[in-house]
């Protein structure tokens, strides 16, 4: 039911896939632990990330103090403001990076976690590995909004006009962090089991 060989995600060397915990023969890192524990870790990290996602989107990520009148921007509020100003490409980039990509990652991880029990063959198995690969590549780009807020908070810092980061920024950073941990906790064996056992 399982593949004969397993790839170490740290050093790319090929290892024999045995039952139980597998340590890489080359770099000694743990490739695969007990399946239930990995599954629970991935779920726990994912749920934590989702809670932070809700907080990050409801609380302001940016606080704009202009001559004493304070306006607060949420992520979506910032996207709408950019769209209204006519900066369509930037609005789309921020929307993709801050709203869409985290949601996409949540769904991909959910999909992998809920489907791992079904044996996968041929093309479907390749698709799942590709999905995982995509989540790994796009994940860090969610950090764009946090960087933008940090940059604005640094340069717009005058006596009467001032930008500071909001609670949403902290929640957002933690969301990105826990999503990355959740993706890392996913055991590659969870999605690569198949019945052909090549």
């Amino acid at each position: 039911m399982r593949d004969k060989y397993i790839r170490c995600p740290y050093c790319e060397s090929v290892n024999e896939n045995t039952d139980g915990v597998v340590y890489c023969r080359n770099c000694r890192n743990r490739i695969s632990g007990r399946k239930e524990i990995n599954l629970h870790t991935a779920w726990a990290m994912l749920i934590t990330a989702m809670v932070f996602y809700v907080i990050a989107n409801t609380y302001p990520i940016l606080v704009f103090d202009k001559f004493g009148s304070i306006s607060q921007n949420t992520i979506i509020g910032g996207v709408i403001a950019l769209w209204d100003e006519g900066s369509y490409p930037i609005a789309v980039i921020i929307f993709l990076a801050s709203v869409f990509v985290p949601l996409l990652k949540f769904f991909l991880i959910l999909y992998i976690l809920t489907n791992y029990k079904k044996p996968q063959k041929g093309s479907k198995r390749i698709d799942q590995a590709k999905l995982y690969h995509i989540t790994e590549v796009i994940g860090p780009w969610s950090m764009i909004d946090v960087f933008v807020v940090s940059i604005l908070a640094t340069v717009v810092h005058f006596g009467t006009v001032k930008i500071t980061a909001g609670i949403g920024a902290t929640a957002f950073v933690l969301m990105v962090f826990f999503t990355m941990l959740s993706a890392m906790a996913i055991d590659i064996r969870l999605m690569k089991e198949d019945s052909s056992g090549d």
């Binding site: 790319e12 090929v14 921020i94 198995r125 860090p140 950090m143 960087f147 640094t154 950073v173 962090f177």
Partner: protein
């Protein structure tokens, strides 16, 4: 058995098993199923990564010392430097955001650079095999947390937000940062773990 396994490689993207072959200089091996790059000529890739890590160290120091952008709003003037950004976050008590920005923009990229230099030193003089092993593992972890490229894109996004209100001049560090990102993506982040490990076993086991 271990010897046999060393001749195999699994594609990162689609997990197809391949047998490794020795490549001539400047050639690249690609996955037969999905076309993803598997590895390239090992000696060349490592030599490039080490020499460009010195370049990127210089660029990184310049990028941190001088302002990236100068912002003028009426009579007010402010500057963006990487250290000032982090100290602003800390002074406003955003410790979590500040620490993560510090790690992904400063500590992780520096770890990558110094890991390459240390690895070159150890392999050149054939010193401590176990330390070299740890450095390769550390290099791979710190590389996945280095996000200077994303930070550079964020500066462009922030500029768009500022254009309406302020006059903006580019500083010395803007060029250094752009060059750093290019070098980082082309040479430091493009080397595959398997290339480092093959180089490692060539040096220490003479295979």
């Amino acid at each position: 058995m271990a010897e046999d396994l060393d001749n195999l490689i699994i594609c990162k993207k689609c997990r197809t098993l391949h047998r490794k072959i020795d490549l001539p200089a400047k050639k690249v091996a690609r996955c037969a199923v999905c076309g993803h790059k598997l590895y390239s000529d090992v000696e060349g890739a490592f030599a490039k990564a080490v020499s460009y890590s010195i370049t990127s160290l210089i660029l990184f120091i310049v990028a941190n010392l001088f302002p990236i952008i100068d912002v003028y709003v009426k009579s007010n003037h402010s500057q963006l430097t990487i250290p000032s950004m982090i100290s602003t976050l800390f002074s406003e008590e955003f410790y979590v955001v500040g620490s993560i920005v510090l790690v992904v923009v400063v500590i992780a990229p520096l770890s990558v650079i110094f890991s390459y230099l240390a690895l070159w030193f150890l392999t050149y003089f054939k010193l401590s095999k176990s330390l070299a092993k740890h450095i390769i593992s550390f290099l791979m972890v710190s590389r996945s947390w280095a996000m200077v490229d994303i930070f550079a894109v964020s500066i462009l996004v922030a500029l768009v937000k500022l254009f309406g209100y302020a006059q903006i001049n580019y500083g010395v560090s803007a060029i250094a940062l752009a060059l750093f990102v290019m070098v980082d993506l082309l040479f430091l982040k493009s080397i595959k773990p398997v290339e480092l490990w093959t180089y490692f076993s060539r040096v220490y086991y003479e295979r």
